[in-house]
Symmetry: C2
Amino acid sequence: MNESETRWLSAEEQKVWRTFMQAFNDFNAHLDRQLRRDSGMPVAYYEILVMLSEAPDHCLRMGELAELVRSSRSRLSHAVAALEKSGYVSRCPADGDRRGAVARLTDTGMAALEEAAPGHVTEVRERLFDPLTEEQVKALGEIAEAVAAGMRPACEKAIAEEFAAEAVTEV
Amino acid sequence: MNESETRWLSAEEQKVWRTFMQAFNDFNAHLDRQLRRDSGMPVAYYEILVMLSEAPDHCLRMGELAELVRSSRSRLSHAVAALEKSGYVSRCPADGDRRGAVARLTDTGMAALEEAAPGHVTEVRERLFDPLTEEQVKALGEIAEAVAAGMRPACEKAIAEEFAAEAVTEV
DNA sequence: AACCACTGCTTGAACTCTCAACTAGTGGGT
DNA sequence: ACCCACTAGTTGAGAGTTCAAGCAGTGGTT
């Protein structure tokens, strides 16, 4: 923070901000608890299974999978290790690149996913879609789109700054 | 899940849902990383400090604080322990109820908060408010309100079911 | 006064996530 | 053929969260 002036939030912005954080933290916590309780896995793991289930052959390179579930490679690596221990996913070397690994959804994993899905979807519907009008759902989609769009430049900027920092550091 | 029919998401709902989760997970991750990097604390801890800073005397009972930041008592207990170790918060017995404890924001904690706030707020503004139009901000507020409203009954329902389960089990 | 269900908060263990190394393999220059 | 910077993925340690169990104090009942 070396901008000279912080643009603080107005009273109304504060209110929106807090309501928003409250609602969606609670919502996420709800989803996570439901899934942990009923299917013994956190939402993050569920989403890994979903992505794999939609992939051709139920297989994906670790890197692609990481992108799809928007998690760091490291996090994914740990997660897949855990899922492998549960027997839901198996890992094998990728062909074409001997560094690579592909994760594959096992039949047990697919079964677990099918078992978990109805409860999860029901929760999403009841807690998110049911309380909203159609226009609100549409608006939410557009809002999310806008925020996502505003996020991409941020990444690029971060990378650019990193480069700049390196350039300065290295003589 | 013993409802006979799961109300799956339509294609459009799917799209909204995924965009939403993507955008706001990324957004949250962003906030958290910024705060960890620049101020060495996760967003959850920052919010604890905020709540304390707004409380009369910078003091709050652990229970109230837990409500305010919407975390379990256990989580809060661990968090306050950590914040105490950093010297940002101190704990002392509540008077009137010898089980109780109150958390107090120390001067160091207040300073840390003031140091952290501008960077955090700037991030919120640039990543959330700036990309949205005024109407979208308003819509987001209403959406959050609706979702929050739809969450309260869920809690009550959960508690009711717990009671029901107990009633069945005992005897 | 002795009981007992309940509340307020803490604790420990298991689990997940983050961050910073680290290994191994790739591909382009020389 | 040999470098060397870069990419793919893993690992380990430490931080934070969850869940279930625990301790102590409270307040109503008998």
